[in-house]
Symmetry: C2
């Protein structure tokens, strides 16, 4: 038996056929083209799925479920995508809409949640009932898995771990609050800290790595640290301390078996985790129990497809 | 069919017989006497349970489960109480130990988690699959219910919502971190803020309500506010703002259908909630979805017994 996972993004619809070993055996994709009616986007998702089935010599009865991971607020229970910033969903019953194309049952989830589910079934947290994935990208995204199910709250809007205030009255966050974890621990936050340090320190070797402030990215200060620049070391130290504060909060709240880190900044992998651990080990609340392991996410872009394919379980 | 709930505290063992309507129909209790062997405390819990069954004209086959809520870290899956600050558990398999007394299956949970379960089954959050209870007492306790089950993490130590840093580098918390929510939003935190304000303001009417600093409790500043004292109003305003910061974090993370407030400070009830709501409404992340209701907990001390009795479900 197979399942299909759809990673619906603002740019592309990526569809994957997933086997019982939770491996993607075939993929198809097409542009999302968000400036059109939602019905057309749904039709493309359905037709890509059916084409993938056909082209792999299967029939609809070989596929037990289709799962869709979408940005935004999702009512997973009812298969409804309530709202998404870039894709024109408006309380759209996707499960119902798919019935015009196929009788395969359809499930929906938020994209960050679904990526966490992918890592919990087939990635860094494979075999764990309780896992969390934190994505350190433009923002700080979170997906929480408890007993192998997504925790999204009664309204589908939960899991906004990045919008947890850790510095009351601190840096302005896009959400309107001040001092959210996201304002410090996203790639955007790291870039801001790096630029501020460069402006204060014209002598820093960071200026060799990023000749202008526009060249700064989430890797710049880590590269500076590895090149032996003390200003970069200070930026990384500050960034890591903020990141550890939020991660320790999450551990105290959830005590997941594995907490995995994905997104741009997490490409630093074990190097970043080794910097984080002393802070977390010192600050976490429960010390006399088995401890949460922090791991780099391993599925990359496939997490969304695999996680979506697992929604039907 | 009945279930039995045991609220094991540092002072008393309270045992209740709970019917299918989730009401306590009879109670028994005896002192915990924590300075003795854990085997004796377990024996008392079992004997109180059996006496309660007998005295109510029932037999063991009328009782489907015994649940125990205990302070500390609990491995609910295996019926093991790992550690408790005041009661001499040490990875004690309580489920196994009860077999010497009865064949009724035994379940265990942390006391704050179990109280939340009680409110979710039969109290302020009755009928809700997703609910959270926050206890504003000596500390800030938390119990998280998702899909009618306790979220305690893979090691039983989760739900430490009070040990979420909201003011990085802020007030010292007993846990070793600085700026934990508990340091600001517990009754202890409120008492500290009230005393500091009184010391700064000898003219404040708070000195009439609490003639010495030792007389200050979690109600003092609220009484001062109601008596029209501007210093008290300022203390309450500050306290409420900190409390709202943590509550909004919790809502953004979990989006429970109901978040109920228990413990000493929550005796202010709807008065406190009316003060909180403007902060929460302004700051919560997802505004275009059904919203979490904030309610006073209603079961009081019975929450522990009823919640423990629900552990077997």
């Amino acid at each position: 038996m197979y399942t299909i996972g759809i990673d619906l993004g603002g740019t592309n619809i990526a569809v994957g056929l997933v086997n019982e070993e939770k491996k993607i055996v075939a993929k198809k994709s097409s542009p999302t083209l968000t400036n059109r009616k939602i019905e057309e986007i749904i039709r493309d998702m359905a037709e890509l799925s059916l084409a993938l089935i056909r082209e792999n010599g299967l029939s609809e009865k070989d596929v037990s479920a289709i799962g869709i991971g979408s940005p935004g607020t999702v009512d997973g229970k009812n298969g409804v995508i309530i709202y998404s910033c870039n894709i024109p969903f408006d309380h759209t019953n996707v499960r119902e809409a798919f019935k015009a194309y196929t009788s395969i049952p359809v499930y929906c989830g938020n994209d960050a949640d679904v990526a966490a589910l992918g890592e919990a079934y087939a990635g860094a947290a494979a075999g764990c009932d309780n896992a969390i994935m934190i994505t350190l990208g433009t923002g700080v995204g979170g997906g929480v898995i408890v007993n192998k199910h997504i925790v999204a709250g009664f309204n589908g809007a939960g899991g906004e771990l990045g919008h947890m205030v850790i510095v009351r009255g601190g840096a302005q966050c896009n959400c309107g609050r001040k001092g959210c974890w996201e304002a410090y621990s996203s790639a955007t936050g790291l870039i801001r800290m790096t630029r501020e340090a460069m402006e204060k320190h014209p002598e820093s070797a960071l200026w060799k790595i990023a000749p202008t402030l526009d060249d700064v990215n989430g890797k710049t200060s880590f590269d500076g640290l590895r090149a032996g620049d003390p200003v970069a070391a200070e930026v990384v130290k500050e960034y890591v301390a903020y990141l550890a504060t939020g991660l320790t909060n999450i551990i105290n709240i959830f005590q997941p078996e594995v907490l995995c880190l994905g997104g741009g900044v997490a490409k630093e992998g074990q190097f970043l985790i080794d910097l984080l651990m002393p802070y977390i080990e010192k600050e976490r609340y429960s010390k006399d129990v088995p401890q949460t392991a922090i791991k780099p996410a391993v599925l990359g872009n496939d997490a969304g497809i695999i996680g979506a394919a697992m929604l039907g379980f």
